[in-house]
Point group: C2
Chain length 439, copies 2
């Protein structure tokens, strides 16, 4: 049983188009892609833009019980679009050393991935290969397509429109402002709220899940703004733009599913922390039972529509809970998300089934540390390292030390207050001198 894990988290459809990233952003993405290590099992091959450092790899595999020495990491650039060079395919083939690929797990199953899989003769190892090979991933990640599918399946969404022209987008935004609401404009393909901007007449409105709020005098200005920024909003005219009523101070939540041939299985749900951009999350989402039922039930129905199309893989149905208590779905993401490791690995494998429902996972912000090893030592000394006996403690899910001197901690605790208390204690820990050299 050999899996090929592909860390292509810079796929163009995740970022709205051609590669506009800076070297620093690419480096951050490369470190983020290393999270795939959490899924690795004995004998797997990882294709990553940058190899994980030993300390991180040891930490992850130590917790998952994977024998690190059995893993092979192939490093290669994984550009946002296009097919991979022969040398990369050859390197993967060499790493496989004649073994059959039984499973392919990419971050994003675009045609770059399906082409690689085809060249490896591993089509059957990627669920939904045929769908993805014909560009299907766009259908399950476009925010524009999402609104149609949501409307078509009776999934509640914010009032709004999918606009193919600046006129239509401007009219929709103006209508919302004229009705006394704020509007959010969404680029069809983007992630983490980076493609969203809020238009509002109210300077007090905070742009949660959007990169900015633009304060405008009124509807006409919204029309002008939309026309002026149309090229960026539509990714150079390539995609329609979503215009929705923006509900200030809503709580973003999601339910994540695995869509397989046999059907749709809930992986878990969570609640995003926005400050004002995405800053982490807590799992599970703490919602009243009726809202939680609808989050999971409506999310599942959405998944069933994507299942009918032929999509296979992870799907996150994202929603907000408005201050009025309305549950409104905002987008769907058919890919490994920034939450997938929490459900598929930390909850399912590190904590495991009997205790999972009695644990809270808090992954919030970055923790500045002298080194990855120093962070682990500090956790050990404080008695906060993840303890397989109690199934509580801190796990370091990401290693960004070479980029910005931080690691990404996830606190696993019996409840939210305990998790937050541990999280708050971390900065002080790292201030202590590391007792061991950085590994």
């Amino acid at each position: 049983m050999t899996a090929l894990l592909i860390g292509n988290n810079r796929a163009a459809e995740m970022a709205g188009g051609p590669d506009g990233s800076t070297p620093d952003e690419r480096r951050r993405a490369a470190r983020g892609a290393q999270r795939l290590l959490w899924w690795a099992r004995d004998g797997d091959v990882l294709l990553l833009p940058e190899a994980p450092d030993d300390a991180f790899a040891d930490h992850v595999t130590g917790l998952t019980g994977t024998r690190r020495a059995t893993l092979t990491v192939v490093t290669a650039a994984l550009p946002p679009t296009g097919t991979l060079p022969d040398a990369t395919v050859a390197a993967v083939r060499a790493a496989l050393a004649g073994r059959t690929v039984d499973r392919v797990l990419p971050v994003y199953a675009d045609t770059g991935v399906t082409d690689l899989v085809r060249r490896l003769g591993a089509e059957r190892a990627l669920p939904g290969w045929a769908f993805h090979a014909q560009g299907g991933s766009a259908l399950v990640n476009s925010k524009a397509a999402f609104r149609a599918v949501a409307a078509g399946t009776g999934t509640p969404v914010a009032a709004g429109a999918v606009a193919g022209t600046p006129d239509a987008a401007g009219a929709a935004a103006a209508e919302l402002l004229a009705a006394g609401h704020s509007a959010v404009l969404k680029v069809a393909f983007h992630s983490g709220g980076l493609g969203n901007e809020v238009l509002t007449t109210d300077p007090a409105v905070r742009p949660l899940g959007a990169h900015r709020a633009v304060v405008l005098p009124g509807p006409d200005a919204a029309r002008e703004h939309t026309a002026r920024h149309w090229s960026g909003l539509s990714s150079g005219g390539r995609h329609p733009v979503v215009v929705e009523r923006y509900h200030p101070e809503s709580v973003p939540v999601y339910a994540e599913f695995e869509i397989g041939d046999a059907g749709v299985v809930l992986s878990g749900h969570g609640e995003m922390l926005m400050d004002p951009m995405l800053d982490g999350e807590t799992v599970p989402a703490a919602l009243p039972p009726d809202l939680l039922d609808r989050l999971v039930g409506d999310g599942r129905r959405l998944c069933e529509a994507y299942h009918a199309l032929g999509y296979r893989g992870t799907l996150s149905a994202d929603a907000i809970v408005t201050p009025a208590g309305e549950l409104l779905f905002t987008e769907a993401n058919g890919r490994l998300t920034g939450s997938s490791h929490l459900h598929s690995v930390l909850a399912a494998r590190l904590v495991g089934e009997p205790l999972r429902s009695r644990r809270v996972f808090l992954e919030k912000g970055a923790w500045r540390v002298p080194s990855f090893g120093a962070a682990l030592d500090a956790l050990e000394r404080a008695g906060l390292a993840f303890d397989p006996a109690t199934r509580t403690g801190v796990v370091l899910v990401g290693d960004r030390v070479p980029v910005d001197g931080t690691v990404v901690p996830c606190v696993i605790a019996p409840d939210r207050p305990a998790a937050h208390a541990v999280r708050r204690s971390l900065p002080a820990l790292a201030a202590e001198p590391a007792s061991a050299p950085a590994s």
Copy 2:
């Protein structure tokens, strides 16, 4: 029971983008839109770019049994995109004269239609209104989305790819030519094969269902051609391009369905006549039983995927039968098609259930006539006018006399040879002087 029939057959998503039509093309489209008269029942309101002439309207309603005097025709420009002016909405409202709209039947349910429907407060009268209001029609008409859905549902398609970049399209076309095949490049949104072109190294290859065949020396030239024409192929970079193996001398067939809340119902199937562009069709498709079963069965499965998304309305699953006897699906069209009247009206209502399966419908080419009335007279004199007693004869399904001096005849006969014999006899009939003045 009042229906609103909307003749918007110039919707941008049917033609690949903004309005590039000439006045002559617009006039032709306007005459084509008059075919909606076939669906009209007592009391209905028709919104058309051009009112039908009396002779045509009398012919149609005489055959369908609709009392023509109960119909109201509102004429207004129906542009390819955008919302309709207030004056048009007011005119429709005036024509309704307070009656509730129970059913809306557009040619194409784009957001121009859903906006009109909303302003009339008739959302519940348009099946799938919510889906269409969020741009859903694009999902069921894009040739690119089709390939993903077909692959995802196990529907057989020609080898090929959905290409988001000139490089990807060029590589796919070059690969096909290098393998000794021809390729067809398809614009994502277009109709009647007008957005398709064949690339081939063989000058003998005829472009059936494509506007031209480009003879090239080899794969590299295919790459260059694709790059050079990328802007047109991608509608100015707005949509991906489909690149498929082209199977010369294949027979185009289709199965058409009605997708309703309750499920998917077959309307009928047919066989297109290409000469080399679409020149008409015969109903039913004359295929061996196993191929026909697959056409209908695979077409239905495709419909079920679109049904799951929330699409409601007519859906035509188009396919080809290759000379090798392979059935390969080529596109899906979620709209009233050029065939819909044959199934929904001529077969279902003029011929009716008991005899329908024992009749052949042949609609092939245009018939040059002095006037619509003269054509009817000629048919009467020759004993070829449709006879409700025998459920055979010629029906004039379209009136293009003011545009190009032709009508569109459909021959209904017991079998194909009889239908073709009648069709061949028509030009000679029209050569006779008309006995009555043009109505």
